[in-house]
Subunit: 419 residues, 2 copies
């Protein structure tokens, strides 16, 4: 087997652990120098490949690569750039092959969600057709937890842990204040299509520490009357209530609740905020004092409270990608296969990309409680192991010692390409 | 010296470490059973004293009291209830003395901010007048960091750490995405009058790791044109920009930027939404893609990433309060006295409550950079030690193992009192 170079790119919204996958991949590939030569990374994801803006990862020390394991965000830059279909934009796919050929790249590792799995598959297919075979391996990543086949997606467990911890802490806070002040706290979380992240808020409550958490899932049409009755009930029973609301919650009219939000003092619509909409509903409907927060990027960047399970799985996916490539596999994705819930056990598996691309995994119906505001025991059994364990980054002067890479550019060999 | 019982109450907005002060106080008092008998806590703060709703802390195990050190929020309940002036509501002060007398309470420990320092002082004065002397000791607590004399206030260091860590993480995230997506991230933080918490966002940037952080202080009148120029400059230079905005930022008209006409129980403007206002300004003025978050309660409840310095100081203040009481002091507050910046050293001091009550410490003018959007080296030297060190709580099933106390009520001896 001839030594070939490798290309790695990060795609879409970044997470607390996508760099842990990069660390697993780079450390494993570096140890296989008889099979894999240089490892190039795309600056700002696939755009780096299209524009031949490659990063030479060999310029980074072993220590820096190791530090990726505890550094959130995308160390090489990511991008939101979806390649069109092969029919609509064959030019871009051909360009990728051209760049790979110019730099003797035989391995394409693409770290992302559903869209990048699809791109990965197409690149591999076209490469064969064009007579320059490239082994394309997709490395799963998405806080949305919506990739099929794999039990969970790296990135999700850490967001879930952040939201569960935050909801627990905010609930303790509100409980302290409820007698004379705030009685309802509302936290807006990510998840436009599926309620995986919102569901994690439900973990703040457990059998031995009941917390009145009300969850608003994007899967459930918002029913104002039912919601207010639920909140009222919680406040009457517990003195307070915490609400976790998915950004994707819709009303009966099919519109995002956040679309009809507050207007500020200047008459501007306040975009992106379903939490203040819910807060107003609580105020107007029940007259209760509330506070609200919006976690936004904090939730997916919170490496300081990452799930150890998630970090280990993210690293393992990067490692497995290289191992599968060296074993000769193509158009595949490593997966996390759950063996048992309690004690939690999992192993690395593999799936054909054709079974992953363009398939979105939704939350099972039996994960949402009958009243639509909570999670079931099945959901709890699924989620709990994913937030298990802590994996603290090192600190310096009170702050996490996250690494910034040198990101040295590889000299270009081709003519400019406009995207 | 006769053995007297003690009363402890938590006041105002709770923090990640007010229970650490409670732990310091209770552990120290328990060890002095020859001087202090029972230690009662007010259920929901001072309201518990007024309504004779006392908690018998002796029902809690040593383990539970120890666990308070790592548990955020107010374990006995807090309240937003400010006693009126002695002239306007002598009845309430007299009631406090009546309750103290009925339960043989000779020590009054009040854990809070400026308002509670004032209450503490008045109770002590009136107790003397009424012939039932009570030693009143105020235990400092406020995320606003606005108590005078003491170098800093327990609760602030942990919020500062949370905001600095969050801004660092969000900045890494935005930097990864900026090429094709979000270029500006805006985080709204607490601080209605003083920019202490917003200033902490500036710690995300340092000499060896520059991050383009723009701070909007409540001390600086918002100038839209200057702000947009600053953001534009950052984005041009770094490709992205992160903004930390204090909830108390005002425009040239003197009105809160976030003001939507809501009022809280005290008649204060109900704030919480300046981030979307700033986001709209960025969108309309520069056409840049943005994201925004509102930390709200998460920032002050985030015991999971508390500053070790803050936890130690909070504990020390509770401990010192008891020691000062036993030494015979009255109408005093323990303070944190800074000895040196580097290496950071501090010791416990003491101040007369008359020098604390009704005095608000603002941020020094030379803490804000000349352009009004950053912090100076002086500010950095002051803030850095306060976020130093981590003090992780124990975890169980992936979540912090925070304690909930039994909070057993003490039998009442007096007639009902309406508040």
């Amino acid at each position: 087997m001839a030594v070939k170079n490798a290309f790695y790119a990060q795609s879409g919204g970044v997470t607390a652990v996508i760099n842990a996958s990069a660390a697993g991949l780079l450390e494993t590939a570096r140890a296989c120098s008889d099979k894999i030569g240089k490892i190039y990374a795309g600056r700002n994801g696939i755009i780096g490949a299209l524009t031949e803006d490659l990063i030479d990862t060999s310029a980074e020390s072993a220590e820096s690569i190791r530090a990726l394991r505890h550094t959130p965000s995308g160390a090489f830059g990511s991008c939101r750039y979806k390649l069109k279909s092969l029919e609509d934009n064959r030019r871009e796919y051909e360009r990728l092959i051209e760049v790979f050929k110019a730099h003797d790249i035989g391995y394409f590792f693409y770290n992302g969600g559903g869209d990048s799995a699809d791109t990965c598959l197409k690149v591999s297919q076209l490469a064969g057709t064009l007579g320059y075979p490239v082994q394309a391996i997709h490395v799963p990543k998405t806080v949305d937890n919506d990739l099929p086949v794999t039990d969970c997606c790296p990135g999700f467990g850490s967001v879930a842990k952040y939201i569960a911890v935050s909801m627990l802490e905010a609930s303790f806070d509100v409980a302290s204040m409820a007698k004379t002040s705030t009685k309802v706290f509302i936290l807006e979380v990510m998840g436009r299509h599926a309620g995986w992240i919102a569901a994690a808020g439900g973990l703040a409550s457990s059998r031995d520490r009941e917390v009145p958490v009300v969850i608003l899932f994007p899967e459930i049409v918002f029913d104002q009357e039912k919601f207010l009755a639920k909140v009222d009930d919680c406040v009457k029973k517990h003195g307070y209530c915490t609400v976790v609301v998915s950004e994707g919650v819709k009303g009966a009219d099919g519109k995002f609740l956040s679309d009809q939000g507050l207007r500020d003092a200047f008459g501007h619509a306040q975009l992106g905020g379903v939490a203040p909409v819910i807060a107003n509903i609580v105020r107007n409907g029940l007259g209760l004092k509330y506070h609200w927060g919006v976690a936004d990027y904090l939730q997916r960047a919170a490496r300081h409270i990452a799930s150890r399970t998630d970090v280990e799985q993210a690293y393992a996916m990067g490692k497995a990608a290289v191992e599968y490539a060296i074993a000769g596999h193509n158009s595949v994705m490593p997966t996390i296969n759950r063996i048992s819930n309690s004690p939690y056990a999992w192993k690395t598996g593999m799936v054909e990309l054709s079974k992953v691309a363009n398939v979105e995994k939704m939350m099972p119906g039996d994960f949402i409680s009958a009243d639509g505001f909570g999670i079931t025991d099945q959901c709890r059994e699924y989620l709990s192991p994913l937030i298990e364990g802590e994996d603290y980054p090192p600190y310096k002067h009170g702050l996490p010692d996250y690494v910034r890479l040198k990101n040295v550019a590889v000299p270009k060999k081709l003519a400019e390409f406009k995207i």
